[in-house]
């Protein structure tokens, strides 16, 4: 049996009122991409892996842990019996950004990046040699598995909260990576509290 | 030569005969309906022409034409309904094979 209280037209009027309210009073949430950018999550597994040559002992743990075999390392022994990576290449084109290399590094020498723009004109430029892997300019490490960086990164801006910001455009300079700030892996634990969604 | 009543009624006669030929010589029921429409239109032309050239102030012919259009609309509605009902039964609209009345 149909509901006796039903009154057609009311729902349509409500809908019309809602849409006109959106039309008049809601802010536009479109991001004008090349000019405006959103701040990514602090823990983003971005596409530019960052490598710290000073902390790296060329143990090749990252290369071994990579499921795709994207990391290519050639090492040489220094006179003081430590190792040095002569060749350290990461093929971003094949990476699936699982972050296993970052998690496996015993010396916190490799980090996920924060960039998400990986379009290039040819595939060769997706293979990044070690000179370009170090943190510089907008290549900065993300907070993924590295809580020590997470503190220093700007909070994420989200569309749904009207967090589009015109002031946060280019990422800040990478935080200093002194060995003192980097905690040993064994002591590291997940932050107890989930980070609040950044609201401007 | 000025266009007069003769022209219109002869045109009407030509159209009527074309429609008649179509109605008699075709087997597709839809085409036959179309031919009947042509015949009705031809009669309309004649009616309006008579109205214009013989009794211009009475408009009788035009009113007749309106009634013809009414009848044509009713005829098409019922005719198409019959055609579609037949098509549902026989999968064909060929008037040569519509022999329901033949025992």
């Amino acid at each position: 049996m149909p509901d006796n209280r039903i009154s057609l037209g009311q729902g349509i009027l409500k809908g019309l009122a809602l849409t006109i309210k959106h039309f008049i009073s809601r802010p536009i949430i479109t991001v004008q991409y090349p000019e405006e950018r959103l701040v990514t999550s602090r823990r983003i597994r971005g596409c530019d892996l960052v490598w710290d040559s000073e902390r790296c002992t060329a143990c090749c743990t990252c290369a071994k842990s990579c499921p795709q075999g994207n990391i290519h390392i050639e090492t040489k022994v220094r006179p003081d019996n430590t190792r040095e990576a002569v060749v350290f290449e990461i093929d971003h084109g094949r990476s699936m950004f699982c972050g296993l290399c970052v998690e496996s590094c015993p010396f916190d020498a490799i980090h996920m990046g924060r960039s998400y723009e990986r379009a290039t004109y040819n595939r060769d430029s997706l293979v990044i040699p070690k000179e370009k892997l170090v943190a510089q300019g907008d290549r900065q490490p993300s907070g993924y598995f590295r809580p020590q960086f997470e503190e220093t990164l700007p909070p994420q801006s989200l569309l749904i909260y009207g967090g589009k910001s015109s002031e946060v455009k280019t990422p800040e300079n990478p935080p200093p990576q002194s060995p003192a700030t980097a905690a040993p892996v064994s002591e590291k634990k997940e932050p107890a509290e989930r980070e609040k969604v950044g609201v401007k | 030569m000025a266009i007069g009543l003769q022209h219109y009624i002869i045109l009407s006669a030509i159209l009527f005969c074309i429609g008649l030929y179509g109605a008699l010589a075709k087997r597709n029921a839809v085409i036959i309906l179309m031919s009947i429409e042509i015949m009705l239109n031809a009669s309309n032309v004649a009616l309006v022409a008579f109205s214009r050239f013989i009794v211009p102030d009475l408009l009788t012919g035009q009113i007749f034409a309106i009634f013809v259009m009414t009848v044509a609309a009713a005829e098409v509605a019922v005719g198409l309904a019959i055609i579609i009902a037949l098509y549902r039964q026989r999968e064909k609209v060929d008037v040569g094979e519509i022999d329901l009345m033949k025992w």
Partner: protein, 167 residues
């Protein structure tokens, strides 16, 4: 000038209507036949305009093109008959001869008849109001046919629904 324009219009429309009517009858492609039927209706609407029947011309387009032709097209689409083309029946030749004979006799009769004096000098006036008044005039009008026509339409609607309704 006016006469010349009317003559040109008449001949063009006459050729268009007769040509498309012939095409309706002769074409094998049912869909194109229906489209040419529409052009025939248009030409006849144009003929009504040359006869000073502006209301009737518009009603012609509205009823014939907008409703009847569209219904015929729908009929063609609903029955897959267009695939079979539009064949002639056994009586093709007989029908042709009968039609031509009828045409000849009609033209002969038209030429023989002494039509009443025609006066084409009457000014063209808008016919809408006149037709409306005439249709519903209680004394000398067409009220009864008008009402009968509405009953006819109602009967046609109900008849069509009953015929097509699936059990």
């Amino acid at each position: 000038m006016q006469d010349a324009g009317l003559s040109i219009a008449f001949w063009l429309l006459a050729i268009a209507s007769v040509g498309s009517a012939l095409a309706v009858v002769l074409l094998r492609n049912v869909f194109r036949a229906a489209l040419l039927l529409i052009s025939c209706f248009f030409a006849i609407a144009g003929l009504f305009v040359t006869l000073g029947a502006d209301f009737l011309a518009m009603v012609q387009i509205l009823v014939y093109v907008g409703a009847i032709a569209i219904l015929l097209l729908l009929g063609i689409m609903l029955t897959k008959e267009a695939m079979r083309g539009s064949p002639f029946s056994r009586w093709q030749v007989g029908a042709g001869i009968a039609s031509v004979l009828l045409l000849i006799s009609m033209i002969w009769v038209f030429n023989q008849t002494d039509w009443p004096k025609t006066n084409t000098e009457v000014a063209l006036e808008p016919t809408t109001a006149a037709i409306g008044l005439k249709l519903l005039d209680m004394d000398a009008g067409f009220v009864l046919p008008f009402e009968i026509a509405s009953i006819l339409l109602l009967a046609a609607v109900i008849g069509a629904i009953v015929l097509v309704k699936e059990k």
